[in-house]
C-alpha cells in the first residue's frame, strides 16, 4: 500500500563565509554584552537597564493594586473585630493555616466573635481564598506588605490583635443592603 507523504521543501538561507567563520557574529554578540556591562556598571543609576527591584528600600509601589500581602482583620465602628467566627475562611483554606476559636458575643444580633484567630504564616500559601470566602468583609489581604522572612518560627503566628492593629473600618454593612451606594468606592 503506497503512502503519500507531503513534503514541503524548506528554503534554507545559505550562510555567508563570514557567518560560517563565527568571527563577526561573535564580535556582534560581544558588542551587545559589553554595551550592557558598561551601561549597567558605569552609567548613572537612572540610566541603567537593571530590572531588579530592591524591595525594602524601593517600597512596594510596583505591586499591583490587588496584590495579596499580609492579612488584616477589619473593624466595626466601635473598634471591635468584624469577624463573626463563621469558620468560612478556615474551612476553605487549602493550607489549613487559619485557626479560629469562637466566643459568645454580648450583642445577640452578632452572636459570635473570634476569641482566638491565628494565621500560621509558615503554612499560608497567600492564595486569597479566605478573603473571597469571608461573608462580612472581615479579613483582607490588601495591606501591600510583603510576607516577611523571619529568624524565629514562633513569630510567624499572627494573632487576632496583631492583625486587628493593621485593620481599618469597613464600609460594607450587614446584610449588604447599602453595599452599593455613593459612598462605597472600592
Amino acid at each position: 500500500m503506497a503512502r503519500t507523504i507531503n513534503v514541503v521543501p524548506q528554503e534554507r538561507v545559505p550562510k555567508t563565509f563570514w557567518e560560517k567563520s563565527y568571527v563577526p557574529e561573535i564580535m556582534r554578540g560581544l558588542a551587545v554584552t559589553i554595551r550592557q556591562f558598561g551601561r549597567n556598571t558605569f552609567s548613572r543609576k537612572e540610566n541603567r537597564d537593571t530590572f531588579t527591584i530592591e524591595y525594602p528600600e524601593s517600597g512596594t509601589s510596583h505591586y499591583p493594586e490587588r496584590y495579596r500581602g499580609r492579612h488584616r482583620l477589619m473593624l466595626r465602628e466601635d473598634g471591635q473585630v468584624r469577624c463573626v467566627a463563621c469558620m468560612c475562611c478556615s474551612t476553605i483554606c487549602p493550607a489549613n493555616c487559619i485557626h479560629i476559636e469562637a466566643g459568645e458575643h454580648d450583642d445577640p444580633t452578632v452572636e459570635k466573635y473570634p476569641a482566638v484567630f491565628v494565621i500560621d504564616e509558615l503554612r499560608c500559601i497567600v492564595c486569597g481564598l479566605c478573603v473571597e470566602a469571608c461573608p462580612c468583609d472581615a479579613i483582607r489581604m490588601d495591606t501591600g506588605v510583603h510576607m516577611q522572612p523571619r529568624f524565629d518560627r514562633t513569630t510567624a503566628f499572627h494573632a487576632r490583635d496583631e492583625m486587628m492593629s493593621r485593620g481599618g473600618l469597613s464600609l460594607a454593612t450587614k446584610g449588604g443592603r447599602d453595599a452599593v451606594n455613593e459612598d462605597y468606592t472600592w
Binding site: 551587545v32 556591562f37 531588579t52
Partner: protein, 383 residues
Amino acid sequence: MPEWIITIVKILVIVFGFVMGVASLLTLVGDRKQSAKIQNRIGPNRATLFGLDIQFFKNLGISHFIADGIKMVLKENTIPNGANKFLHGLAPSLVFLPGLFGWAVIPFMDTYCTGDITVLANYQEVCSGEEKRYFQIMHMEVGLLYAFAITAISVYGAAIAGWASNNKYSLIGGLRSSAQMISYEVAIGLSLAGVILVYGTLDLNEMVRMQGHQMWGIVPMWGVFVQPVAFFMFFLAGMAETKRAPFDVPEGESEIVAGYITEYSSMKFGVMQLGEYAATVFIGSLVAIMFFGGWQVPFLYGDGFHFGTPTGTPDVAVPYALIVLLRIGSMVIKTLFFVWLQFMMRWTLPRFRYDQIMTLGWKILLPLGLANLVITALLSAIF
C-alpha cells in the same frame, strides 16, 4: 640578600599574591557581579560583613566571597564507594598545580638594572650595571615550551579525576576534557609557531623586549599586529584549554551533572574550580605577553618616552622607579583585561556542541594554523 630568599619572596608575591588573589576574586567579581551586570541584574548586595551594615561592602558582596571560602573548607569531604582513593585525592592537585607552576616563567617586568640604561637606535636597552631578575621567578631560555609542557599536565588531572570517581558522568566528563584539551593543544602549538618565527626566541622576556620595537616608527611590534590570525587562534584555543564556557562540554551541567568534578566535594571541589580560574588568568597573561607587548608601554623605553627613533635624550624623561611601576602596571592591567574578556565571552556565547568543538579544532584551527605558519615562514624568508 641571598638568592633563595628573593626567589621565595617572588613566589609568594606572584603566585600567592597575584594569581591566587585574582583567581579567587574571580569567583565573586567575574562570576557573580560581571554576569549580573551583563544580564541587567545587580548581583549579591545584601549580606553584611561581620554584621557591619556598610553599604559599600554590601554592594561589593564581599561576605559572599568569604562565605564561599569558609563553606568550601568546612564541608564534608566525601569519597564515593568504589572510587580509587589515591587517584581521587591526587587529581585535584594535578588540575590545580600546573596552573601555578606555569607562572614561573611569566615576566612582570624587564630585568632590573642597577646602573644606567642607554637606549640604542635599534630599540635595544643597554644596561651599564648588573641585571637582576626581580620580576620573573625563573629565567629560562625555553620558557614558552616550559609553560606549555606544564599546562599540558592538567589534562591528566581531569582524566584521572573522571576515571577515579567511579561515576559514569565523571568518566564521560574526563573523556571529553582529555579529547578537547589534546585537540586544542595542537592548535595552540601551531598558532604559536608563527609567533616564534617572527620573534626568533622562546624566552618570554626576550619576546616582550622584541615587542618594544616600532614598525615604521609608529606601530609597536606587538604580536597582535604582526600575527593577527595567530592571536585569534591562540585566544580561542586558550579558552578551550581552560575548559570554561563556551568550551565547557567537559562539565556541561545540563547533560552530565558537573563532568569530572561531579564526585568532588569540599575543598577538593574548590581547588578544581580555582584551578580553572587560575588557568584563565594564566591564558590571559600569555595573551598579554605574546600578543600585546607584556610589560611594554608604547613608546616607553628604559629612560623615558621616545616618540620616533629612540636615540639621545628622551622626549619625556621618566625616573626609573616610575618606569618599573608603569611596566608592572601595564602587565597586570593587560592580564586582567584578557581575563575580563574571557569572562565576557563566557557570558556571551552558548556552549559549543561536542562535534562543533572537534570541527573547530581539527578542521578550522589546524589548517588555519598550518597556513599561518607557511605564510609567516615565506614572508620572514623574503624580508
